[in-house]
Subunit: 251 residues, 2 copies
Amino acid sequence: MKPKQRRSQILEAVGQQGEVSVEVLAQRFDVSVETIRRDLGQLAESGVLQKVHGGARRLRLHAEGSFDERMAENAEAKQIIAKKLAAIVEPGDTIFIDTGSTTLICAQALAAIDRLTVITNSVRVAQVLGKSEKNITVYLLGGTFSHDNAETVGPLVIDQIARFQVDHAVLTVAAINADVGAMDSDFDEAQVARAMIDHANHTIVLANVEKLGRNAAYRVCRLDEINSIVCDQSPGAEFTAALDWAKVELR
Amino acid sequence: MKPKQRRSQILEAVGQQGEVSVEVLAQRFDVSVETIRRDLGQLAESGVLQKVHGGARRLRLHAEGSFDERMAENAEAKQIIAKKLAAIVEPGDTIFIDTGSTTLICAQALAAIDRLTVITNSVRVAQVLGKSEKNITVYLLGGTFSHDNAETVGPLVIDQIARFQVDHAVLTVAAINADVGAMDSDFDEAQVARAMIDHANHTIVLANVEKLGRNAAYRVCRLDEINSIVCDQSPGAEFTAALDWAKVELR
DNA sequence: AAATAACTTGTCCATTCGGGCATTATCTGC
DNA sequence: GCAGATAATGCCCGAATGGACAAGTTATTT
C-alpha cells in the first residue's frame, strides 16, 4: 500500500469514527506506530485533522459527521414528521425551507422524497438534502452569512426569494398564538420567513406543542396566513378552535 | 503496442483500480519501469492522473473525492501561497473568493485581516471567515448547491456576482499556460471565476507550480486578464517571460 | 514522585526516482 | 527505397523517499 493511499484512508477513518488511536491504525495498515505518527503529523500539519495523545481526532469544522449522529438519534421523531410531511409534500414539488432545528430534522425526512426542488437559506439544510440520492435540487439563497446558525440573511436573501414562486413554504417559528399569529425571535429570520410566505402557494409551519400560545419579538404572519401546522402532539382544545376558525389545517 | 495505446490503457487501469504500481504496469506491458515512469510523468503532466511513490493514482477532481484529501495535498505550498496573499490584501478591502482547496487555506490566512468584506460561493470559505473575530463581513452567493464541494454554482451565482464590484478576485484554477491562460476542470466553476474577474478591479490567481504549463477542460481567462499570480515557488524562465509579456505580477 | 505510555529524533537500509547516455524503432522528405 | 531526423526505450547511477529500529524526551497515570 502506498503512503498516499494510507493517509487518505486514515483521514477517512478519522472522519468516520471521530477519533482513532495510533495503535489501531498501525495494526490495520501493518506498519509501525512511528510511520502512523509521521502520517498524522503531516495530516495535522496540513490542518485536516487534529493530533491528540494516543491518536488523532477529527476537527470540529467537519461537524457533518457528528451532525449525522445527532440526526440519527431523532430517528423516531423524524419518522413521524416525515409521514406527516409526505402527506403534504409530493414528489416533484418545489419548496422553501428556512433555518431552524425543526426544519433541519424535517429536511432529513424530505431527503427521501423524489425530484424535489428545495430553496433554503440554511447551509445545513442544503448539506443534508444535497447528500440525498433522490434527485433533489437544492438552491442555497445568497446573502450575509451568519456563522452562528450557518445561514444567510439580509436583503439579498429577500430579494432572491422574490424570484421564486413555490408550492410550499416550510417554516420554523419561535412561537405561535391565536391573536398575533406566528413569531420569530430573530429579526432577520422573521424577514426571511415573511418573504417565503409571500412567494409560496401553501405555508406549512412546524411547531412542537411548547411553542403554542407563547410570544416572541418579531411577527412573521397572521394565523390565517398559515395553511398547515405540523405538530408533534395535539394542542389544547382552545387553540384547536382558533386554528379551525382561521381555517388552518392541523397535522 | 504503440505508446499512445499503452498510455491510454494505463489511464484506464488507473481509473478502474484507483491505484497501480509501476512494477505491475511494466510487467503487464512488458516494458521497463523507466518507460512506465515516463508515461506516468506525461500523464501526470497533462493532469489526468497523479503520480505517487511507486506508482500512480486516479485523481478525484471530478468524482466525489473528499475535499479533505485535496486539502492535504501540497499543504506546504498552499501555506506559502496563503502568506503571500495576505501581503497583498489590505484591511478594509472587498474581495471575491471562489471554491478550491487552495482558496480555503488562504481564507484561514485572510481571517486575520481586519474589516474585510468577502464574497464567496464556497460554504467552507464562508464558515472559516465567519468564525473570525476580525470584523469580517461574509456574503455567501446563492445558487444551485453542489454537495461535493460545498459550493453554489449556476446562473444565479453569476447574476449575483454582477451586483458587486470589488477590489480583488482571488481565484483557484486547475491549470495555467502561456497560450490559453487560466483553465478550470469544472464548467460551473470556470463560469463563476469568469464572472468574478469581470467584476473585480484586480485579479489574483493562486497556483502552485505544478499547475503551470498544464491543461484543463474549461477556459477561465487569458493570461493578460490576470493581474497577479501567487505561486509557491519560481516557475521556469520560459513561463516567467510569458508572464512578463502579459504584464502579470508574479509573487 | 515513580512508573508507564506516548511522542520525538536520529540512523540505517531498501525501494524508488530522475537524468544522462547509448541503442533501436518510427517518421519524413527526397 | 533510402538517409537523416525524431521519438521511444532500456540501462546505469547518484539522489531522494519511505519505513523500521533504537535511544532519548515528554506527558499521563497512579
